[in-house]
Structures are given as C-alpha cells and as structure tokens.
C-alpha cells in the first residue's frame, strides 16, 4: 500500500523546520537531499532520509507514495536546482501539491511557471512579518497566535452544507457573535473568490451550499458552529 507522506527536498534548516511543523498532519516524513555527506549532521532525527538525483525519473517515488494525498516541498537552497526540481516533479506528477521556497520575487515567478502549487518567498514573507510587528504589534501578535500557535482562539474554514439554515438572511446581516459566539471574517465562494463579511456583495447575496466561511472563535464554539451548518 502506498503511503501518504510529506516529501521534503532539501536537507537544510528550512527543510527541517518544515518537517517539524507538518508532522502533526503527516506521520510519515521523508527528506531528500542531493548530497549524502550532509546527512552526518542529521543526529537522531525521526525522519526518513534519502538521496536523490535531479536526473531521476521519479518512478520509484510514484510506486512508493500516494502522490495525490502526499505533499511535496522543494526547499533546495540553490535556486536554479530548486526550479529544475519543481518543473521535473510537476511534469511527472500532474496533480501533486508542490510547495516551493524561494529567496526572491524573480524566482517566485519562475517557480509558478514551473508548476508550483504554492510559492513561499522567504525574504518577502520574513520582511512582511517584521514590518507587521512594528506597524501593528497587537494585531500581529493576536493573528500570530490564532494562525500559528496552539492558543484557545482558532481560525477555521467551515464549508456550508446546510445553507437552508440561513435561508432568509444575508451574511452581512447575521449577528454571528451573538448567535454562534464566533466572528466570520470572509466568505470564500466555490470559484475561490473571496468577500469580506461586510462587503456590498455579502449584503445582497445569500449563502449557498459549498461556500466556505472563514471564522475565528474559541474551539468549542467553532466545533458547535460546524455541527450546525457544515461539514
């Protein structure tokens, strides 16, 4: 049976940090590296370590992993090799989720063109977080806790499967905090377009099955809300 895994290309600090943060979802984590000698720094980590070659045709990986459910991270520090790896993986695995890291915006575009599902620009992301810390320290801390830390407050994407519940109401008019103890920030439609909860569209368009609500609240309130309207 093929395993569902997080496949991380690049045995470096970024790769290890990614492994540490996705192990709550992927029990099986495999880290690939071009140079076997670097594995001597691995110590006693729990992840499977393997070497690979950019000329590989990935047959072996396809046989071993369920690529539709697995996730791939391209985190090689050499930008050119990282792009080559991304394009090589995409040409072999059409439907796989490939997340690539890059240092600069220029290469972010190239990675998009190479077929990465999501590109994370390291410099821009870090700079954005630093600026937010200075600009809005409280908002940044709260959002950071909601998004990344194990705080009481959570953010959830709740898919509506019971739109009849809001049959006669427009989303902007619903008092979410009073009725459910949560705050709905935005609505994501099936075409992935997003609306802020108080936008004009939300004042005139009713919710339908398949819409996703981005909600913030305490864990119990969110679970209760999910039970009532969604899946």
């Amino acid at each position: 049976m093929k395993s569902v895994s997080a496949l991380i290309f690049g045995f470096n600090e970024y790769g290890l940090e990614i492994a540490r943060n996705v192990n709550y979802k992927y029990k099986d984590i495999t880290i690939f590296n071009l140079d076997k000698s670097e594995f001597i720094y691995a110590g006693d980590i729990d992840y499977t370590l393997r070497i690979f070659d950019l000329s590989d045709d990935w047959e072996e990986i396809e046989e071993e992993f369920d690529m539709e459910k697995s996730i791939i991270f391209c985190a090689i520090r050499d930008e050119a090799k990282n792009i080559f790896l991304t394009i090589s993986l995409r040409s072999y695995f059409k439907d796989a989720t490939i997340i690539s890291l890059t240092n600069n915006k220029e290469d972010a575009n190239k990675l998009k063109m190479a077929g990465a599902s999501k590109v994370i620009p390291i410099v821009e992301t870090t700079a954005g977080i630093i600026t937010d810390m200075l600009k809005k320290p409280i908002a940044t801390e709260i959002l950071h806790n909601i998004l990344y830390e194990d705080s009481e407050l959570k953010i959830e994407q709740v898919k509506i499967e019971n739109a009849k519940y809001f049959e006669k109401e427009f989303p902007a008019d619903i008092n979410w905090s009073e009725r459910f103890g949560i705050l709905v920030l935005s609505i994501v439609h099936e075409d992935m377009s997003r609306e802020f909860i108080y936008s004009s569209k939300s004042k005139h368009t009713k919710l339908i099955d398949g819409d996703i609500l981005i909600a913030v609240g305490y864990d119990t309130d969110l679970k209760d809300f999910q039970k009532r309207i969604g899946g």
Partner: protein, 518 residues
Amino acid sequence: MDKFNRYLVDFAYFLKTSVSYQQKRRFFYNILENDDYKYKKYFDIFMIILIFSSVSILIYEVKRDVHDYLNMFNSYVISMVFFIEYILRLWISSSVSTVIIHQDEYSDLLGKEFSLWFVVKRIVRDKLNYILSPKAIIDLLAIMPFFHELRLLRIFILFRVFKIFRYAKSFQTFSSVLASKKFEFFTLAMFASIVIFVSSILIYVMEANDPKSPISSLYEAFYWSIVTISTVGYGDVVAVSHEGRFVAIVVILSGIAVMAFTTSLFVSAFTEKLEEIKENKTILDVSKAKNICIICGYENIAKEVAKKLINSHFEVLILDEDEHRVLNAKKDGLTVLDYDPGAIDSYKKLNIDLSTRVKAILCLREDDVENVYTALTVRSLSKDVYMMSLLINQANRNKLLHSGVNEILYDKEFIGLVVKEYVGQPVAFEAIHEFRSEDSKIKIKEITITERIVSTTAMVKELENKSLRVLLLGIYKKSSKRFFFNPLEDTLLESGDIILVMGNYMFIKEFEKNLAHK
C-alpha cells in the same frame, strides 16, 4: 480637566478632523513649501516678479519722479502681498491643533492632567522658532517699506532681493556648500585683510609726500591696495616711487595667491564637501525624526523591510559600513549613512536619544556575529530601545538573547509556521494573507481609546462599528494586558485600551472620524 481645556481640546479635534480646514492648510503648505507641488513654481515666479518690480521702482525713482500709482503699488500692494505670505507661512510653520491633541493623548496615556501651560509653551516655542529663522527675518524686513513715510525704511526694499533666496533653490545649495568652507574662507579673508592693511599703510608712508604720486590720502592708499590685490588694476592710481613699486610687486604676488586660493576653495568646496553636507543634512533630518526605525545592515531582508516600512510611512535610516551595500541603499532612494552599526560612535554622531526617538533598531545583517556585536553596542548605549534581530543559525539564539535583543527574527521558523498553517487550512490561510497584504482594501487596524472617546463612548455597543461595516475583533485591555476576543456589548471601554478592527479602509477611516466627532 476644566471646562476651558475641554473646549480647547474639542476645538483642536474639530480642526484636525475638519476636511475643509485641513484642505486649506494643505493647499497653503503645498503652495508655499512643497517643492513637489506642481503649482508652487507659478507662485514662486509670481513672487519673483513682484520682487523685481519693487526693486525696479526703487532704481527708477533715483533719478526720476515715480507716478503715485506706482508708489502706492510698491508701498501698499506688494507689501500687503508679502505680509499675507508672511502670516500664511507663520500659520503653516507648525500645527497648533496637533500640539493640543498630542498633549491630550499624552496625558490620557499616562493618566496625567492636561497641561495648558505646556501647550502654550510648546506653541510659542514652535512659532518663535519660525519667526527667528533667517528666512522669516528677511521676509519681515521686506514688509518694512510698507511704512514708507519713514524714509529710512525704504532701504529695506533691498531685503526683497534677499527673498529671492527663498524661491531659488540653487542659491540655497550654493550658500550651504560655501558655508562648509567657512573656516578656509575666514583664513583667506584674514590673510587678504592683513596684506591690504599693511600695504595700504606702506604705500601711504612711501607715496603720500611725493607730489608726483596720485596717492595722497589713506583712503586712496586703501583703494589702490584693493584694486591691486584683486588683480583688477584699473591704473587710475599707481605707485610712482621705487619703494612704492616694490610694495606693488608684493601686493600683486599676494593677489595672485589670494585669487588662486579662492578659486581652489570654491572647487574643493563643491567636490569634497558636498558629500559631507549631504551626510550632515541626513543627520539633521534624523535628529528631527520622532519615531525612526534604524536598520543595521542592508542585505536582502533589510532591503525588503525598508521598502515595506517606507510604504507604511515610517521614517527609516540605514546604517552600513560596506561601500557596495551603502551604494545599493542610496540607489534604492533610502536615507543611509556610511557608519559602522557596531560602533558606539555611529550612534553618538546621530545625536538622538535612542530610547525616546527611535521606534526600533533592527539588526538585519545576515550574519549572527555581526548582529550580536551590533546588539551589544546598542544595548550598551540604551537599555530601553526596542531591538529586533535576525537569527541565521538556531545555535546562536541564546547569544542574541543575551546581547539584549527584544525580538528574535528566525526566518526558518516563520517559514515553518506559514507552511503549517497552509497545510492545515489552505483557504483560511489565503484569506488572512490577502487581508494582510499591502494592496488589500480590507485592513486590520489598532485604534487607541482616548479619554475623550471614553467620555462619549463608554461601552462596546456604543462603538456603532456594525452600522459602519467594521468588524470588531477584540479589545486589548491596558489594565490587564489581555486581549478579549469578540467582547460582550456591555464591556466597558477604558482610556488606553486598544480596539482591533477589520474592514474596508474607507469604512475604518469613517469609523475613526465618528469616534472622534461624537
């Protein structure tokens, strides 16, 4: 706060939020001071024409009678225009309402009584600063001919010529460059003065008793010296005795030296001192800044952070000792000083109080050793300044903490957390990151609750955020230093609390105005 102070603060807020008042103020600021304002040049040309008209009338009336209308125009109309300009400049030189509001917010924040005395002192100080500036003094003197009955004051029309300095930027640059060589020019002037003084006396002693010599008085001797040392040599007054001619040779040679020295001073002032003047100007600007972010080191992350901070209207100063990186920062249009961020002297030269005038010092070299060194330098100068530092190697985290950094920025950790959220909730992740992006119209904003807001809006339900389509995410209570998510409607608001709101930026603006106007 007594009634008068309350009315004063209310009036200040009224002026601050009055669209028409602010528009007028902005217009006059732009037309008088903002070199980037497209209509300013027309105003400058108009003023230059007035100045030349005024001086032309003065010259014309030396030998001819001037028509009364022209005199009237010169004495009243032009003076009145200058007077109005003077008053407008005085008005825009500093904002009275801002001083009152700042004092109100300051007293709110510290829980102190509003001090009217402080406000008056600050306003008078700001206005006096302007009135006593050289440009303002010239402006005032240029208005004097208005009192044309006092003949003596007519000479002040000449001060109108000096007003041209205000409208022609190149004059200002020229004078600032020359000012940088003040000492050299002073030395030169002293040398020339001594030569002129000695040669005048010598030529007078040697020629005054010679009937053939045209030099018969000390004044003529002085005139001869000036004409000779300047290498002009009119030839109307010449030395005739052998002794006198010997003195002439010495003065002529000195004159050549003085001219050569003067020329070289001008050239070197422009070549050598321009960079220094720019640096001094940067330091001056920095010393005036109130909430500046100092970025130490200009590499990839620093570059992006500087760009984002400037877009968010922060004042940013880059310190770096590497020539190549300094050049890069300059090319990117940033304020940069070629100073070593790890040297105490660099911060002393800035002449600012790091604890009160600096928002944060960011050690953003992509090298832990350099960042630790910079952090220790900064901490040795100020215990209170907020400091952030980039961490490159996780093994050095403790070293950075020990060096006194308040916040460690480990980019690998950031990326790990971003990945964690993306993997868990991809749709929510995209939505939140869209809101946080600079281009998004939906903004998350922190609004500080002042005593004034509390007096009109005591509870959460009185915020009326929903009617203005603004989402209240929560309140950060100053008293308990805790964040209360989705607060109950009857939650009390206290001065110093911070509310966290989210919405379209225009609605948030409206919401803030609404809070201030209530």
